[in-house]
């Protein structure tokens, strides 16, 4: 094909041959490629261009645990109803990876469409799919991009082709590209040109046969995405930490948590360095996770708002220190961006299987407070709340996110600026000590189990105390006395009860009057809300749904189970971990109501996996 043909008079994309009705704003696109090929920004352009038209989208990246050359799949779900959970069926496949092309094509459901490199001859594989052959290399050359950039540019070509076939507004694409390459004008032009080349090629050469189309939502459409943002949970959590006023960070890189701190570093360099160039923070890449949490607890003890972020293996290494934090009562914040375990497991897959382990992280009678964000907005809000709770309760507070939430692209309402001022908990000043004439570090003055503390450096002869992980009495003096030990442990239990009144309450959806309830936490949320819709539409089964947002469980959780006949506990792990914690804490009379819906293959849970099980067990399946 010659350049001249590329600029050939454009023809409108034709309608699907058979007059089958169009599918508008309700399908998913999968880009199959290899990592390191730079398809990320192309995929992001595709995602955001649709988003910019006011149409709800979500983007999930399925990538391997290596750096370059292995299969990667990026899935964009376009859904007018705003469903953003993973959808198992692919409607449009952009097959850029020869290695997986065959399997990718064979796994599609009949009627789907495939954009592929003509060289691959995928059209010979099946007759029940719609195939669009594209001479990618020629088109890439035709963009005029210099050789070393072609690998990257090639991706933008498929963006153009998809845009044309799906009738994505090119103005929207252009805006998106310009914004994405804001600081690099040349790159923007180069990419835009590639998009156009693809677009023109499709326009001039391909015959639209599939029913898929994107249509801008009316400005007043309830689901119009205008005003929304797209962000990943790790970036959101980093923002939360910054606005919480974090000052000391100890971390050790590990997928999928690294980007929490990497985002935080960028933010802090930009917004937390003062005029004189000095930093109001210390971020230290530790030698390992034991050191990372050690720094956090040391800093928390000295009065700083300190945090670390890690994932499974790192959390395991923090076990001993976590117990010290609990028993010596040291504030500290730990983000666990869960990945698929056990052991190294699947480092680039998602999971919710650290819950029970973290709830009792460390030997002995240790219990921890855990926040469970279900959205990027909550990653931001809980990212702040963790610090408040850690200082209020004087204990390590964990936030359990996961790879799906932390590393994928999610739509969200913009985040709200924190209205309540930072509060540092029960800290005594020199003046307080003067007034009180001393204090007992581990004395339960207020009956809430939370003692008072002083910070190192407090200028009063009675300010100092001795912090230790060994037995101590109310005065923080070493003690092996049975009564001192027992009283202290009972106070810690009281403190944990107090935590129940301070952690974020669960959120109820539904009338609250149905017989069937659903309990879940974290990212399972998105599959559940869609599943509830499926159940009402397809099976006429109305359900109530309570999303747990913290451990220990608040009263609402107990009441919810009490009020329903059967409660389905949906979670992304093998061992029904949330259900286990519920069985331990709930009145056993209610535990009998619990049923399990489990999903644990490393992929984010989808709505069908939830609705199918519930419909089946409720005997309303079709």
């Amino acid at each position: 094909m010659t350049p001249t043909q590329l600029v050939a008079e454009s023809q409108p994309a034709k309608q699907a041959a058979d007059g089958s009705k169009r599918i508008v704003n309700d399908f998913s696109i999968q880009v199959a490629t290899v990592n390191g090929s730079g398809s990320q920004s192309a995929n992001s352009v595709l995602l955001r261009s649709i988003f910019r038209m006011g149409v709800p989208v979500s983007g999930k990246n399925l990538f391997p645990s290596n750096i370059a050359g292995l299969p990667t799949w990026y899935t964009i779900r376009v859904n007018k109803d705003g469903w953003v959970a993973r959808k198992t069926e692919i409607d449009l496949l952009i097959a850029m990876n020869p290695e997986t092309a065959k399997e990718d094509v064979l796994s599609m459901k009949a009627g789907g469409a495939v954009i592929y490199d003509e060289g691959l001859k995928l059209n010979e594989l099946r007759s029940d799919l719609i195939f669009y052959a594209v001479p990618f290399d020629q088109l890439t050359v035709a963009t005029g991009a210099e050789a070393k950039l072609r690998k990257l540019i090639k991706n933008m070509v498929y963006v153009g082709i998809a845009a044309q076939l799906l009738s994505i507004d090119m103005a929207s694409v252009e805006e998106t590209v310009r914004k994405q390459f804001a600081k690099k004008v040349k790159a923007a032009e180069l990419n835009l040109n590639a998009v156009r080349v693809g677009h023109d090629y499709a326009k001039s050469t391909l015959t639209k046969q599939d029913p898929l189309a994107v249509e801008a939502l009316a400005a007043d459409h309830p689901r119009n995405t205008r005003g929304k943002i797209i962000i990943d949970g790790n970036a959101a959590a980093a923002m939360g930490a910054m606005f919480a006023g974090v000052t000391v960070v100890g971390w050790y890189p590990i997928t999928p948590s690294s980007s929490v701190v990497e985002n935080l570093i960028d933010l802090m360099k930009k917004y937390r360095v003062e005029k004189d160039g000095k930093a109001t923070f210390a971020i230290v890449q530790a030698e390992d996770e034991l050191a990372a949490i050690g720094m956090v607890l040391g800093a928390g003890w000295a009065g700083a708002r300190a945090m670390t972020a890690s994932s499974g293996p790192g959390l395991s290494l923090m076990a001993e220190f976590a117990g010290l934090g609990y028993y010596a009562e040291l504030p500290g914040v730990i983000f666990d961006i869960q990945r698929t375990g056990p052991s190294t497991g699947l480092p680039t897959r998602t999971s919710q299987a650290d819950l029970t382990f973290i709830a009792g992280l460390s030997h002995g009678d240790t219990k921890h407070v855990i926040l469970l964000p279900g959205s990027v907005k909550e990653c931001f809000e809980f990212g702040m709340e963790c610090f408040e709770l850690a200082e209020q309760l004087q204990t390590p507070v964990f936030m359990l996110s996961d790879l799906d939430l932390g590393m994928n692209n999610w739509m969200s309402e913009p985040f709200d600026y924190p209205e309540k001022p930072i509060s540092r908990g029960k800290v005594l000043s020199a003046e307080d000590l003067q007034r009180l004439g001393g204090f007992g570090r581990y004395k339960d003055v207020d009956g809430d189990g939370i003692p008072y503390r002083t910070l190192p450096g407090t200028d009063h002869p009675l300010a100092a105390y001795f912090t230790r992980g060994s037995g101590h009495n109310e005065k923080a003096l070493y003690s092996e006395r049975p009564d001192d030990y027992e009283n202290n442990m009972l106070r810690l239990a009281r403190k944990f009860d107090t935590a129940k009144t301070l952690v974020p309450k669960p959120i109820l959806e539904g009338s609250g009057k149905e017989k069937v309830g659903i309990l879940a936490f974290g990212t399972s949320h998105w599959a559940i809300i869609e599943a509830r819709d499926q159940l009402t539409r397809e099976s006429k089964l109305a359900t109530d749904y309570l999303r747990v947002r913290a451990y220990p469980f608040t009263q609402e959780v107990h009441d919810f189970v009490a009020r329903h006949d059967r409660v389905y506990v949906v979670e992304q792990n093998r061992d029904a971990q949330l259900q286990s914690l519920l069985k331990v804490d709930l009145d056993p009379a209610f535990a009998v109501k619990l049923r399990s819906v489990l999903h644990f293959n490393g992929l984010p849970i989808d709505a069908r996996s939830v609705s199918a099980v519930i419909a089946e067990e409720e005997g309303v399946a079709k």
Binding site: A279, G303, I422, A464
Partner: protein
Amino acid sequence: MATTPVAPAPKAPKLNRIGLQILDYRGGKTTLCAGCGHNAISERITEAFFEMGIQPERVMKMSGIGCSSKSPAYFMSRSFSFNSVHGRMPSVATGALLANKTMRSVAVSGDGDTASIGMGQFVHLMRRNVPMIYIIEDNGVYGLTKGQFSATADIGSKQKTGVVNDLPAIDICALAIQLGATFVGRSFSGDKKQLSAMLKAALAHQGTVLLDVISPCVTFNDHEGSTKSYKYMQEHEEEVGEVGFVPFFEDISVEYDANTTIDVPMHDGSHLRLRKIHEEYAPTDKIGAVKLLNESHHKGEVLTGVFYVDTQKQDFAQLLNLVDEPLATLPESRTRPSREVLTQLMELHL
């Protein structure tokens, strides 16, 4: 006019330059064995802080786990103390220091706490040159767990039971110098004069001070065949240089012979005066210091003194370019960015 004889006023206790008496620096009653070297070290630390006139409330006492690590409970009760977990105190101390770099940090560890389970964190602490004094109360055994060999036990040294150690000892000082510590020395719990001078100099230094103090375990490692016993130290201690110290608040014009004595001006205006004893002694030459230590093992000597000092290298807090005030207590106005910042960020993600 008074003619009645006046009773002589009771002799006032000695006060230091900030008006405190030694009592203000004392700790709780020791629960360590009578005669344990660690107790003597606690004494020297108490004196050093008293004599240098450091406000106890401005001090953080950090430790791991072990008999040695218990000792912070036995000195300076008016200071803030953190007895953490076994071998991982360096990270806790680093975090505490970063939270409040205006505090003095003195850490006490043991040879087991540092050279066995703690080796990983120790290496990286030295590398970062975190401003603090790290004292290893080195007895070659795990005292608190009843006398197993540690990694500083010399090859060939015997346990009470007769068991012989067949692994080479780790020279903590050579290691520390190699890794980046900026004030490294060895002393002996029984050497009052040297240890006191070294501790005071340590307080004048800005950066990581590593002091490996041989501190005999009278219960498990003070017998014939031990190379960490009082007897062995009395017989094998070799001072590389006599350690003298002139604090900033005293008259520095004290005479010294420039040919035999190296004068090291310290960060706070104090002066460290090292009188050469060992011919190859050159305390500012990193490579030489390591060599000197390595050679001493062949000679079977236990070198003591200040082996290496570098007063120029930036410490970790400086490298991080932290604000002058403690991070721990910065006001919300300096730690929570404005509403506008959030709006900006939101726009970036529209």
